[in-house]
Symmetry: C2
Subunit: 186 residues, 2 copies
């Protein structure tokens, strides 16, 4: 099985940071569900976990996904149905990890952290190990420290090419770039 076919994305709404550095729970954004599902599907991933501890938010995502996979949106028959069938909604990152078959957990963030691994090194190491891989992305101002501490690896940040080091991609853009760097073909 290819690395992409046993890899998953998790989009975490808790525990993440707000601007001031406090740990908070962010609200689910409709376009995060759609964009990241479409990217996950385009790169042949095994699944996409939307992680939120708030039951009402999980129901909201279930309604969005249900509309396109079993409801009226299915008849609309663009390619959203295929993409949204990858979405799974879970209350915690631990449940995502278990549902992904005790996956190897890779945390991502915009800042460099000690011991973070390059895209090429991560790909080589995970190619050589048959375990599932869970790529974890934070909403808000990024994943809380606890998530980094509990992960199996930390991926190097995406650096753009801004001369002043500006690096503030949306999480939707960051997921797309990470999937392309790990799995894409030029």
């Amino acid at each position: 099985m290819t690395l992409a076919a046993r890899s998953y994305v998790a989009l975490v709404h808790h525990p993440v940071l707000e601007k001031g550095g406090r740990v908070v729970t962010t609200a689910v954004t409709n376009l995060d569900v759609h964009d990241i599902a479409r990217a996950s599907r385009s790169y042949g991933l095994a699944g996409y976990f939307v992680v939120t501890p708030i039951a009402a938010q999980r129901r909201l995502v279930e309604e969005i996904v249900g509309h396109w996979t079993t409801g009226a949106g299915r008849a609309h028959n663009d390619k959203r149905t295929d993409a949204l069938e990858l979405v799974r909604i879970v209350p915690s990152l631990e449940e995502a990890r278990a549902a992904a078959g005790d996956a190897y957990v890779v945390a991502t963030g915009a800042r460099p952290r000690e011991g973070c691994v390059s895209f090429a090194a991560l790909r080589a190491a995970r190619d050589a190990d048959p375990r599932a891989v869970l790529l974890v992305f934070g909403t808000g101002w990024g994943l809380a420290d606890d998530v980094f501490a509990a992960s199996d690896a930390i991926l190097a940040p995406i650096r753009g090419s801004s001369p002043d080091g500006y690096n503030h991609l949306s999480v939707r853009s960051a997921v797309a770039i990470v999937l392309d760097r790990l799995f894409g073909r030029d």
Copy 2:
């Protein structure tokens, strides 16, 4: 001047296709303005043109951008101000091209087209030529044929790694990946 520093993105709302293949004008999406501005800024681009012939839509984008660059959002002082200062709002692709200093126009799309050029070949050719570059992306179901016909080059589509060839990225994801492939550093 680096290639990134003389490159621009144009997000086209007309002429683009709707699902059935007709040429239409799409509505501006708030998150397209934000996400693509942030990606353009992270990769050190010279500017980002939002292209729509509808005056009321241009005013809407001006209000969004104005809020973050000169209005109340500026005091919020996250990094959106820096990014949104790159946005220019124009009624046509021709005006974007002129405003970008008679730029070399590169059309993008999800389907392969005759004579399309690889990412590596485009980068090499544009590195060797000091002209500005305008990377053109379509909303809706992609750019109309006229845009491809009038462009100086057509970039090869992004291929993911889905075994069945599924390839339906959002335009926000596509812009992020194209900028990373052309300008990003691993």
